[in-house]
Symmetry: C3
Subunit: 339 residues, 3 copies
């Protein structure tokens, strides 16, 4: 696919500076771009890379236009416009419709003829696969699950029984959806398993990262609403509810029955305890531990600063004396007030 | 399967209030239950849901009996009794014995005729599979491994060579058992791999969560005793020893050669350094870091509180000044004592 | 394979004490060794095990030689020499060259005749597999990827499209290489996916742990240099660059575009924010959070000490008052100076 810069400007309602007829075939970074490619610039930190770029055109803010050695597509949000242009040029790997001869599909499964099922995929009884769905190699789909139109499971994804996945959902390799929740009752010291009878319900336009795990509900369902984006290696426990358009970075763990609002952003490695309510529009910074509900939108954090090990060892010890320090402080204040 | 409330009371030695003849076919949550289902109640926080439930019966403590709009099964531990009833009603997906035509099984493997091996499973040389074992789709079992009676590997599980798995063990999708430990010796700046010659030995009644990894021992074995329950995305390094009936929540990492006692409970996201000894009956709260052995039973924690980012930034900086603060405090105390 | 102690001494340029003709067939731990095996000793903590060992020989420092009840191989670095001896004795599971009849290999893939492709592996179009490469059961290799000589993918590994893997690379089960980075642009509250057009480039002699995930670059590549060792369950985000011979322990998360130097050691559970630069020879201790670039070699840490929960609760609260404490301290100091 080739577009002139003028065609891109018209399509995305942007202004141009420079040659509207220059032909663009692909996107690239400022550093790696060659003629025929378009790049983007949003931060003066990269002004040197912009000055030296071989791209035929650059997407940038009008105020940065003079820094560019080449034609420009002007916008107040270069990252967003670049993403749109990149999506336009993206060459989807051609995937042929149909069931590969090395796939195993139960007779009772309903596979739309426009869907593609790759080699070594296993599809159990009563599964329903929608239009243009792509089931990659090595994926296992448990009995009774539904994968709706235009969704894609990349490879080696495990979907357990009776899971419901919406439209345009993208699931990366190694993800597991619908595994049993960690439901145990203590019985005189030993653990009795509580059958996990709910399932997982995933909305539309959700992305699920590599090796992320989403447990099924114990009685009711684990729910991921529309537009939620989950990075790699996230653990979502049973009966968690994640509100629409929330984005969660890698290595986050969310314990059972917690409800996370809409439009939240959870940083990498955050831990969230069970049975909490997190309001809409909450941001939690990386590796924080959330042990109580958050009722107001805002940015939240916990943790201690990185220091050289020798400094940190001293302060680390002092943390264990904090309460005692406050008492010494109180004693001094009392003494001083008595003078 | 249908039971009257009276039959359930007899079977589980519980008292009844209300209609002993009401017929129960399944369990459900207070909120989602329909007639013919039994639910449970243990916390006044959910009194509204109890008042509105459509369940035919509810399991609860005698003291809560008056809150119920319907028949009751009375017990001091409603969660435990509910788990027992749920296990009774659980409809196990019927799994046919035998080896699926799309499985790959080495000629030297011994598969009990009551076992089930699903499509796309791969079973290597000299593997032994016990009675009523279920090997799910996409599971790979390395040479010489043993899976004992009534165990189940759900799907896409990887068992490396010579691993021993006990009876009634349940392994969720994506789990890896017997991968090489992270054994390296520094050789003039570069790393020399130390062959990992031990294996993994897993007892009876163990549950292993989705995408959890358990490395094989370097010389001796990594050992998981009977009744241990591991949640999702846990990392168990080489030569770790986990005592019987310990439960470990998701995203925990345990470094090499650490020994964890019996009846411990480790919270989500906890990190445990290598070569430590953790006593029996130790509880560690979520996201704590354990860097020293714990010799006494009890509850242990580390970490800092979640705050709004603006408050936290100020306190975060002060953590780096803690040692200096103590010195200022000492100086003041000295000065005051001189007055 | 059998070697006399004398042959081992010659091969590895070490001294002997005791019977040079004693025959060694394998390595073992001090505790489990039987006659015919060689063990090692490096720490007086294990002097009892040394005294009781049944090994035919022990590798140890000359200064510990008198503690040994049996023949000794003397070296200043017993762990390194033991690793070398263990590598010598290691019995590689024999793997037959060729493509298993239950593998699925695209016609356009180039598989070296010395390579081995196991059952249920799936190899897509235009993949190139080098000499003596071993592709284990259930591995999926995406279109256009290259796996160079002597590399091994153990089982159920997912390699996405166009990934480049060097020589002698070992990838453990469940690892995912080349999944999409978490590239999103906010578009009026909803998230627009940024196509991830780069790939992953992995050098020679790299080891990648079980269920570790390495995302492809967004425009340029994610790069893992020669000799890097990654433990299990590590998350490497898009465009991360890891310098040669760096070792990273389990459960670490590294956010996008961060560059880690050579010869670094990153402890378990560490989190590293995006767009940082970490110098060469940096050590970060377990579960630290790195939010700023590190420009000098050294050991770095963050976190708070483990305490009994009751003590910790008091100090935990005080952490939230730290800034206020400093202000009280300043007030006192001012007051005292006025006396």
């Amino acid at each position: 696919m080739t577009q002139t810069l003028g065609e891109l400007a018209t399509r995305f309602d942007a202004d141009i500076k420079g040659d509207a007829d220059c032909r663009i075939q692909a996107v690239a970074s400022l550093k790696s771009a060659r003629p025929g490619q378009i790049s983007f610039f949003y931060d003066r930190h990269y002004a040197d890379e912009l000055a030296r770029t071989r791209a035929s055109a650059v997407i940038l803010k009008p105020e940065h236009c003079d820094l560019s050695p080449t034609a420009c597509l002007l916008t107040e949000n270069p990252q967003l416009l670049f993403a749109r242009v990149a999506n336009l040029f993206q060459q989807q790997a051609r995937v042929e419709a149909g069931i590969h001869r090395d796939a195993t599909v139960a007779a009772s499964a309903q596979i739309d003829p426009t869907a593609s099922v790759a080699a070594r995929a296993v599809i159990a009884d009563d599964v329903r696969i929608g239009r243009h769905v792509i089931i990659g190699a090595g994926c296992v789909i448990g009995a009774g699950s539904i994968i709706d139109d235009d969704s894609r499971l990349v490879a080696n994804v495990s979907i357990c029984d009776n899971v419901r996945i919406g439209k345009r959902v993208l699931v990366h390799p190694g993800a597991v959806i619908g595994s049993d929740g960690f439901g145990l009752v203590n019985d005189a010291g030993e653990w009795l398993k509580v059958p996990q009878l709910g399932t997982v319900s995933i909305g539309n336009d959700v992305e699920i990262g590599a090796n992320t795990t989403i447990d099924r509900g114990s009685l009711d369902n684990t729910v991921i609403e529309d537009g939620v984006k989950l990075d790699n290696q996230i653990q979502v426990a049973h009966n968690v509810y994640i509100g629409a358009h929330t984005a969660i970075a890698g290595c986050v763990g969310i314990a059972g029955s917690t409800r996370i609002g809409r439009y939240c952003a959870i940083g990498g490695g955050v831990g969230i305890s069970g049975h909490l309510e997190i309001a809409d529009n909450v941001h939690v910074t990386a590796m924080s531990l959330v042990t109580q509900s958050i009722t107001e939108a805002g940015v939240y954090s916990s943790g201690t600063p990185l220091q050289t090990n020798s400094k940190w060892r001293r302060n680390f010890v002092r943390f264990g004396q904090l309460d005692e320090m406050v008492k010494r402080l109180q004693k001094i204040e009392k003494k001083l007030n008595n003078y």
